[in-house]
Amino acid sequence: MSVTKDAIHDELQRESFIKSLSIVDWLFAAILIVGAGYAYQLYNYLMDGYEVAILFGTAISLIALGWWWKATRILMVAIAALSLLSILLYGPAIQALLTQGMDSRDAIAALANLDDKVNSKFLFKYFLSSTSAIMWMSALFIMATIVYFFNLATRNVYAGKVATAMTWSATTMGFVGLMVRWRESYLISPEVGHIPVSNLYEVFILFAVITALIYLHYEGRYKTKAMGGFVLMVISAAIGFLLWYHFNKGAHEIAPLVPALKSYWMKIHVPANFIGYGAFALAAMLGMFYLFIEHAKNAKLSNQIIAVILIFGITILSFFGKVGAGSVEVVMSNIGLTILICAGFWVLGFGIVRGMRAIGPDNLPKLDMLDDVMHKSIALGFGFFTIATILGAAWAAEAWGGYWSWDPKETWALIVWLNYAAWLHMRLMKGLRGTPLAWWSVVGLLITTFAFIGVNIFLSGLHAYGEL
């Protein structure tokens, strides 16, 4: 075996990041800069200095993301292309409705909600209006969850590829839905227009796509698809809520912003928050996976784990009860329904434990890896959640007259923060590993969920935007 002098020389060259970039990377960066410049040129009369900074800051961050994680370049280009296509199709579609004598608001609503009055292009109606894009996202995520589990059970390589492709597609469609919705809000009226991160419906979409992206990153990094099913379960739950919210509450309708939300802060505070929520949710699902595998290995049916599933089920039930029927008691007092749902969750837990034993511990992911990804995810979430909370404080200082008011949402953000701060201390300083941390991250999701939607449902406060 001989190595040439040139090869040695190469090995001892400093690995320069800039030099490692390909022509595609530079092209990608150029497209983003040109795109941001074009957006600036078109809309700078609507933006204040902060918003211009956010625009270019976002462009630079996205370039960095694309360079660092190459797959996202394709994602971004796909999102941009589909969104632009949809926006281009909007023009003629709206014109057609306006000539029928509709006003612009109704025309957008008709388009966005796939109204029967619309006989526009097939592509548009079934693919690219925001509502259909979001429906595609929902369907793809739910299918991907199933295919990931199929892959876990059978180790079918093709199924794994399909699941990954579905998740990437769902993420693309989710982002396209948000982009188009952003445009739709401005088409309704420029004064109504706003970035679609302003209510529960919109942030649930954001939650789904961000969680999926974080997952896809770890899937690529660790070259395993075994975690997919569990992680996408939490996304599917979010999709379930989203669909229910859409069809039962008409939450997908675009409403103008209350004055308190009219601020550039929303553009950075909310997305930062959801990187945190998404990462914590992912960590919790891996924690759950960890516990399941551990119990499957121990070859004794674990009542604890099923108890946890039950607690989760009842928690979800109470949320839905409160939102749907106005109170938890209404649902809980329906004993038959409660027992049925609890039984459903019990069967689910039992089924998963049995299924894992059938798969066999050797075919399940290594516990060390799950522990590692869980830790990384919480570390990622913690950093961004800290930024989000502090951005929130800065926004509060501008809107409410003080950076900290012990408002329920703020307080629960603090509780979430303290919880994960304690988690990280235990792991990094005390060297705690494995089972207890897995339990803890599962409990962490309950706390995070309460901070995310529980506060809005059960507690009132400044984040409810009741006044002003």
Binding site: L12, P256, A260, W265, G383, A399, G401
Partner: protein
């Protein structure tokens, strides 16, 4: 002597025990968890509500208990502050104990590592080498190109080349923790600690009896520099000026004076085309005598004004004393003598009524009432504006008050335009509404005239006689019961007028007859009542100039039915008059928050430090490499390579493996030459 040494030792160990306790992770985690739980309690238990609400909710025993624990104002309670202080002390202890170690770790390349201990590191690898000098250079270069800083040290038995990168991870620890302390210091600077301090020193007393600011006792007043920080609220009406703000503390208030005055020139609410509020803006004039300055500034939600360390925010809005004009229609005056009344919001006006003196207290005025449209709105609107409304109380001489809300313009109700007036006996009840039908000119006049005619017993009697005569025109022997019918008619009219259908039902149930007869009786009575009402209504129409020889229109008949439905409810309305809002001059007030928060920048500094620290601490890994050159037991020149990383161990293992692979190739080459 000996004793002294022992004591000294004991002191040292006692000190270190204390430090161990304060700096222990268990204490830190415990405090974090307790703070989290206490914070959660504060969100579930609504803070700073009037004590009465708590007494109703928990009963007097638990109320006292919760109050003694300060659970109603957890975040300013002493014990919560103590928790925070403990958190600070615990964090400080950690910083104190770990910082020297961290700083050392940043600079220490561990050039004295022993071969034995390096060999125990997982993944370490050794090669037999020939050209030591060349290999040393290659290794050092390889470490450098990977971004490691490299140091070399020659020992007697070995030469060590040590590499290190990511040293700022250690700085992250210091930044994150110092940042938290700084942030908390900023937070405490801006908390209500100083008010508590003034209170306990007897410098300030929270007032909960005084009604007007000008009557506030001096001990409840605060001058501009008395407090380090505060957040107060003040409501200023358009055209008014204020140089103070009110601090709400527990059940009471303190007046905080400002070094300048704020005048509200104008307050505006802008609306979306759908009717929802879009923006709230106040045009302020700041008058600062100290600085001899006067300037205008417009604030709105999210865009406060900062001036001399004070920040003025748009917080809320309300009525600032709108001028109102009413036309008061008496319900039981057959001459229908109306009264023009004027007043201002938060003012009052005494009226003479048939029920004695009653006071109208004007509570609130709203220029617009926007509500979501009902499903299937005919015009497809999402929101409906019901126009202006006024809320007032009517208090009788014994002090009992009812609350009313009246809408100025007619709105559509069950297909007709009606004037809405709501009544409730207490603020906890929902309003019950009276819908006064509007006539063709969109006024209440026809309805009021109809009602006045019912009260005009002389004229009503005449009409009753005419009606009965008309009905009995062809009946034989009608004289016998003619008078009876007229009397009954007038009786029923009277009962209906003062008690609605309920009074008639009451009258029937007092009769000594069986149920079947009662039903029959009721049917007959209602027929009689309807006959006279219809006749009275025709008289009203005739007075308006309607030709009643022709059948009346559907609309006129609809009015009659609507009026009947309203008339029967008037006895429940509570006041003997209807106050119709006829005109107004809208005067708004703006609710401002005024804050002096000098800790804000300290808080932000701490925040930025923490964020930098957290990112360095969590995402940067401090990694070390060692290459040791020595002769092994057989006298062969040997290279041993080992490495470690303090974060993401799995990632480092992979990185180290790549490095080893590279070295294998490079060292292999060297060996061949």
């Amino acid at each position: 002597m000996e004793n002294n040494t022992t004591t000294a030792k004991a002191t040292v160990s006692r000190r270190s025990v204390l430090l161990d306790f304060l700096g222990s992770m268990n204490l830190a985690i415990t405090i974090l968890v307790i703070i989290a739980i206490a914070s959660a309690i504060g969100t579930v238990l609504k803070q700073n509500e009037p004590y009465n609400n708590y007494i109703i909710k928990f009963g007097p025993f638990w109320h006292e208990f919760f109050l003694s624990l300060n659970l109603y104002d957890i975040y300013s309670s002493g014990w919560f502050l103590v928790l925070l202080v403990f958190l600070v002390i615990s964090t400080l202890t950690c910083i104190y104990r770990n910082t020297p170690h961290m700083l050392r770790e940043m600079r220490n390349f561990r050039l004295n590592s022993k071969i034995k201990s390096l060999k125990t590191i997982e993944g370490s690898k050794s090669w037999a080498i020939s050209d030591v000098d060349a290999t040393e250079k290659t290794v050092a270069r390889l470490f450098e190109v990977q971004g490691y800083q490299v140091r070399r040290k020659q020992h007697d038995d070995r030469t060590i080349i040590a590499g290190m990168r990511g040293r700022y991870n250690r700085l992250g620890y210091i930044f994150a923790h110092v940042g938290i302390i700084v942030l908390l210091v900023g937070g405490v600077m801006d908390s209500t600690v100083d008010i508590g301090l003034r209170e306990s020193l007897g410098l300030s007393k929270i007032d909960n009896t005084t009604e007007f600011v000008k009557d506030m006792p001096e001990i409840s007043q605060l001058q501009p520099n008395d407090l380090i920080s505060f957040r107060g609220n003040i409501s200023i009406a358009e055209g008014q000026t204020a140089n103070f703000t009110l601090l709400r503390i527990r059940e009471g208030t303190l007046v905080q004076y400002l070094p300048f005055a704020i005048e509200l020139k104008d307050f505006r609410v802008e609306h979306y085309s759908s009717g929802q509020p879009k923006s709230f803006e106040s045009d302020l004039v700041i008058i600062d005598k100290d600085k001899d300055a006067k300037f205008e500034h417009t604030i709105s939600v999210n865009y406060p004004l900062q001036y001399r360390g004070y920040t003025i925010y748009q917080a809320s809005f309300g009525d600032g004393g709108s001028k109102l004009k009413f036309k008061v229609w008496p319900f039981y005056d057959f001459k229908l003598r109306t009264l023009d009344v004027s007043g201002v919001v938060r003012g009052e006006r005494v009226l003479d009524t048939i029920n004695g003196e009653q006071t109208m207290e004007f509570i609130d005025f709203k220029k617009y009432n926007v509500r979501p449209a009902e499903e299937g709105d005919p015009e497809g609107k999402k929101f409906v504006n019901d126009g202006s409304s006024v809320v007032f109380k009517v208090r009788n001489s014994s002090g009992v008050a009812r609350e009313y809300t009246n809408y100025m313009s007619p709105v559509i109700f069950k297909g007709r335009y009606v004037f809405i007036t709501g009544m409730r006996n207490s603020p906890s009840e929902a309003y019950r509404y009276l819908h006064i039908p509007a006539d063709e000119k969109f006024t209440v006049e026809r309805f009021m005239k109809f009602h006045a005619l019912i009260n005009n017993s002389e004229r009503a009697h005449q009409i009753a006689v005419q009606t009965v005569d008309q009905v009995l025109k062809d009946a034989p022997d009608s004289d016998k019961y003619r008078q009876n019918i007229i009397t009954t008619m007038m009786e029923l009219l009277d009962k209906f007028n003062y008690g609605g259908y309920a009074a008639i039902d009451n009258h029937i149930s007092n009769q000594q007859v069986d149920a079947a007869q009662k039903a029959k009786m009721r049917e007959a009575y209602l027929k009689v009542l309807n006959t006279i009402m219809q006749a009275l209504y025709m008289d009203v129409l005739q007075a308006e100039g309607v030709d009643i020889s022709k059948p009346i229109t559907e609309d006129q008949q609809g009015f009659y039915l609507a009026a009947l439905d309203t008339l029967r409810q008037i006895p429940l309305y509570g006041t003997p008059f209807y106050a119709q809002l006829t005109d107004f001059t809208h005067v708004e007030s703006s609710g401002l928050s005024v804050a002096k928060l000098p800790g804000t920048n300290v808080f932000y500094l701490g925040s930025v430090m923490s964020i930098i620290g957290i990112f360095l601490l969590l995402y940067l890994s401090q990694q070390r490499l060692w290459a040791v050159f020595y002769k092994n037991d057989e006298g062969q020149d040997t290279l041993l390579v080992a490495g470690s990383g303090n974060r993401n161990v799995e990632d480092f293992k992979r990185h180290f493996q790549q490095l080893v692979d590279k070295l294998s190739r490079l060292v292999g080459e060297n060996k061949n030459t």
